[in-house]
Amino acid sequence: MGMLGNLRKTTRSHILTYAIVVVAYVVLQCLVSTHSISYFLGGLLVPVCVYVCLSISLNLVVGVSGELSLGHAGFMSVGAFSGLAASICLRGVVGPDPLRLAIAIVVAGVMAAIAGIVIGLPVMRLRGDYLAIVTLAFGEIIKNLLNNLYLGVDANGLHFSMESSRALGLQRGIVIIDGPQGASGVDKLSTLLAGFLLILFTLTVVLNLVNSRTGRAIMAVRDNRIAAESVGINVTKYRLIAFVVSATLAGMAGALYAMNYSTVVPKKFDFNTSILILVFVVLGGIGNIRGGIVSAALLTLLPEMLRSIGDYYMLIYAVVLIVVMIATNNARVRSAFDALRDRLRRRPGDGPTLSAGAANGGGTHEQ
């Protein structure tokens, strides 16, 4: 019973997570197809997918690896601008839009991975928790860098400058990134289907990674670094793997985000955005991937859904934030929820937790 029971429990938890994503997609797609969705809500569908991906990927660092990253929006912006640049360069070269979007997302992932390695390698070699401060700085630096970056393309290839768009010396080409004005004339290639597929991809990568030799090594380092070293785990390597995979996935989500708008400015990817993503993770319960997905989706949609009630929506938004926070992070409230669920289902609940939460979540039926 032991191992099989355990396997089934984890598998069941994963199936439920995938099922929530699939069902949500099917419902939304039906609403879109039958035009029974409001204009505002329709515009939020891709951003919801983007934030869900960001929440899942940040959980890999914050929940699974147990480290604080405050620069997730930085990797998002690296992916956003490299992805949209790729899509503009491929205009007319690659025919079908979905293929062009896919290539742009891959380019975005590669660029964000490089940024992740450049940032992560020196930090991870240090003993101690320097990641928060370095990623915070990275987020600001990349924003300022992009604010001063001019990128254009013409028949001779790519041109870039840190001064002005005129300094690019383009011959009948197009300016892709125009400093603080960002990118305009971006092709809106992103769709709800693309967002759904990217969520599935992100989810699969993270869950498969976590439930493997690599994931166990990452969690071992989180739980006890000295013990992990003592059994031969290369701590730097596994901290870096978690960080770079997370950055890569954030970059891919950034590309999806960028190609949902015709204009993208660097200012969008600031510290507030990084904190917003962190809030999704914390509200969902650190290390709880499913919780992070739900909180990202709800908190992205909520302001829009509450818009109809006018000025009070910020108030309700705040109250919901507090309630969700208490519900997901307070052991007593959570065990009450679990008990309720158990009673409804008449069998013990299995939490989707991957981390510290597992200890609390699993203990409910013992009390």
């Binding site: 166990r216 071992a220 739980d223």
Partner: protein, 276 residues
Amino acid sequence: MSSEDRDKREPMGDVGDAVLECQHLGIEFGGLRAVNDLNLVVGRTQIAGLIGPNGAGKTTVFNLLTKVYQPTHGTILLDGQDTARMSAAKVSKAGIARTFQNIRLFSTLTVEENVRVGLHNQVECGMWSSILRLPRFWASEREYHRRALELLDVFGMADNADDVAGSLPYGAQRRLEIARALATNPKLLLLDEPAAGMNPSETAGLMEAIAHIRDTFGVAVLLIEHDMELVMGICEKITVLNFGEVIGSGTPADIQGNPQVIEAYLGKQDAREGGE
């Protein structure tokens, strides 16, 4: 330097078949010499003891051997291999495994997962195979499961495989730490106060287990312990530390008869034994 003369050559150490050989090993913390000029030899499948009063530097010796601290003096030869430039992880791969005085389990992982992490360098499976769930991944997971349960079985913990490690009772946590250490397939197993917090029957079980481990896994064991019955009962060789220096070394009988040891250690801790 007087201690050096005394312990230059270990009475029991057959250097030709030593798994561990430390020479003039030492470390300073600020001005404090926590370990000074330590010469220590452990034979290939020997059970050796490291004893001494609290604060003598025993745990520090383990931390030097496993590179939690980098020694400031001396050399460590593991099976003839100099570990000077090795990291803690490399030392594990080279063949030293340990437990900790203050238990250090991966407390949010399950019992089986703890042992699986111990098997990290014994069963390979790359990141890409895992993400893509290639056949390689499934084969390695089966191997992990089989070997982890085999080890847990030795410690009578197979039924607890799915329990969260942090929720285990104290004695079980200590046994799990030993199982995890053995999973790394070591040549030398370091046990830091394995019987601490155990009741007499648990301690008796532990003594049996240690002898059994040595015989079945063919490892050398170096253990730190305050329980004199355990130490004198199973150790073939004992080294006594006081204030970071070796004050005696030899068979249990030698140690019990060594006046310096009796005064520094046994005399204080257990007057009756020392007085005889």
